[in-house]
């Protein structure tokens, strides 16, 4: 049984489809990134899973419990941690009081240990907290009862880089202990560092679900060539060269700089380039932002020609193949 199963989850606000027939599974013990730009419908999916919104159509199960049945959902919530995108606590309480309230209702297995990692100023009133401190308090509250599954909506927003690093290490270690993590993000570098699989959502529709490596493989390399003299355009006419840009006379040494994204066979590319004198050559993994844009652009073109169902079948199939 998967930790989270969505079946045709749909949420409609008047004319707007915030979630349109979203179907995928999050397997136990994986870190699943839910990616999409702001307004894509990530928070709607998450808040529906938590029972805060009721789906217009479709359903979902969290830890095997149906989310539209309050009794079942409560059962799931005992083993679930949730951090909203902008967590808020009673401003008049101190951090300690807020955690005590949580402990009294859901139990406290490990807040001490968590407070060493994320250390909000417990004895100050929450109204005096910075955004980052509220986030730290939220993280402690999310994990304190040692849940089996955590659902995190943009978890690292408000955390400084050092804490983000700490958070990443913590989440990976927890995953190794069997925790399932479902988190949303629009920050792609964060997803690449953390996730096993990603689901991409756009305009309320799930575009794809796949392992993060295959997304990166498909995205290819970011190639920068600095050639002593210009290279004829035909030389770049091989499979996998995208968005070629040339810039003549760059730098003190002159020559021409070429920049493009490459998804083909690197050997073939090097074979082609051998006959030219290069001043410099760099191949980097494409930034995920680029992947994302490419993917989205592709989707725009696809959706004009393909039927709506095609993407979902692919998405569902990938989800199924990855059963743990």
């Amino acid at each position: 049984m998967a930790a989270i199963e969505l079946e045709g989850l749909t949420k409609e606000y008047g004319e707007v489809l915030a979630n349109d027939d979203v179907t995928f599974d999050v397997e136990r013990g994986e870190i699943f990134g839910y990616l999409g730009p702001n307004g894509a419908g990530k928070t709607t999916t998450i808040r529906t899973l938590l029972g805060l919104l009721s789906p217009t159509a479709g359903t979902a199960r969290v830890l095997g419990q149906v989310i539209t049945d309050e009794g079942q959902l409560l059962e799931a919530k005992r083993r679930l941690g949730y951090l909203p995108d902008d967590p808020a606590f009673d401003e008049t309480a101190t951090g300690r009081e807020a955690l005590e309230l949580h402990a009294s209702i859901k139990g406290d297995a490990r807040s001490e240990e968590l407070l060493e990692l994320f250390d909000p100023p417990l004895d100050r009133e929450i109204r005096e907290y910075s955004r980052g401190n509220v986030q730290k308090l939220g993280l402690v509250a999310t994990f304190m009862h040692d849940p089996d599954l955590v659902i995190l909506d943009e978890p690292t927003s408000g955390l400084d880089p050092l804490l983000q690093q700490r958070f990443n290490e913590f989440v990976r270690a927890e995953r190794d202990q069997g925790l399932t993590v479902f988190f949303s993000s629009h920050i792609l570098s964060e997803v690449r560092k953390l996730c096993d699989r990603v689901g991409i959502i756009r305009d309320g529709r799930l575009v794809t679900v796949e392992p993060v490596e295959s997304l990166l493989d498909r995205s290819g390399k970011f190639v920068r060539i600095h050639a002593a003299e210009s290279i004829p355009k035909q030389a770049f006419e091989i499979d996998g060269v995208h968005d070629l840009e040339a810039d003549a006379g760059t730098g003190p040494s002159g020559g021409t700089e070429y920049v493009f994204t490459f998804t083909g066979d690197v050997n073939e590319l090097l074979e082609r380039l051998r006959q030219y004198r290069l001043l410099d050559l760099s191949l980097e993994e494409a930034p995920l932002e680029e992947v994302f844009m490419r993917f989205y652009d592709g989707e725009v073109r696809d959706s004009d020609t393909d039927s709506d169902g095609a993407n979902r079948v692919v998405a569902g199939g990938t989800g199924g193949d990855d059963d743990v």
Partner: protein
């Protein structure tokens, strides 16, 4: 159970203490002015001089005894109007403000049903409701003795005890508003408006053809005049107020379990 009630109650203790002190000061002042008021003003003439609607709205029956004077100056004004409005307003802030400020997401991530969350939050309103009735009766009882206008201890106790179900009913109106509107400011204004409209409908329509309209107003079931002047304690009316409160809370719970949290 009742973790949330305990938490809320703790946070309401200080405010309730101030409320109790404020109301005690009001009570002391009303009692303190009464002797000079009584000797220097022809009270029956004063009542006759008030416009009829005011007398009716404020439930003035007599000012010739401390009981009548308190009933109108302290209990109608201080308890029925001020406290009633305050509790409707304050309770209207509970759920709506949690939603408004985004705290409800965190609260509902806890393994606690919406029904229970609402019930527990409402139960914590017992702190200001009971708290407002702790110190003032002592002030009234002792004050009345000090100015040689003694009141029966049971009457003083009854006028406060019977105000408790009344205040819970007002809080119930606030709770329903709190669920119906997810902006705290709007919920609070609606609660104030509705409570005051009910007060007016009850007091202005009494004795008219539209008398029945006032039957839904909690104010009809709490009568300080009857307690302080006649010594009659209407327990059945208190029962109606309890039933009204339960109905309001259950309605709010049913509503709250069905809405999307904005």
């Amino acid at each position: 159970m009742f973790e949330l009630t305990r938490y809320d109650a703790r946070h309401r203790v200080r405010g309730s203490l101030y409320l109790s002190i404020g109301l005690s000061l009001l009570a002391a002042m009303v009692i303190w002015v009464y002797p000079s008021f009584k000797t220097e003003v022809d009270l029956d003439q004063l009542i006759a001089a008030y416009p009829e609607p005011i007398v009716q709205v404020m439930g003035v029956e007599t000012m010739a005894s401390l009981g009548g004077f308190l009933s109108f100056e302290l209990y109608t004004f201080g308890w029925i109007i001020l406290l009633g409005l305050y509790l409707a307003y304050s309770t209207a802030g509970t759920i709506a403000d949690d939603v408004d400020r985004g705290r409800m997401d965190v609260l509902l991530s806890l393994p606690i049903s919406r029904r229970r969350l609402l019930g527990e939050r409402f139960a914590a309103m017992a702190v200001p409701i009971v708290g407002a009735n702790v110190v003032p009766p002592i002030v009234v009882y002792v004050g009345a003795h000090l100015i040689d206008e003694p009141l029966a201890a049971t009457d003083v106790l009854a006028v406060h005890l019977l105000s408790i179900p009344y205040l819970f009913a007002c809080a119930g109106i606030g709770l329903l508003a709190s669920v119906g509107f997810d902006r705290a400011g709007i919920a609070q204004r609606v609660a104030l408006g509705v409570t005051f409209a009910l007060f007016l409908s009850e007091s202005l329509l009494t004795g008219t053809d539209a008398d029945a309209v006032g039957a839904i107003a909690p104010m009809r079931y709490y009568d300080p005049n009857a307690i302080l002047l006649e010594g009659t304690y209407n327990v059945a009316d208190a029962g109606i107020l309890v039933a009204m409160t339960v109905a309001l809370v259950v309605a709010a719970q049913l509503w709250f379990t069905r809405v999307d949290i904005a």
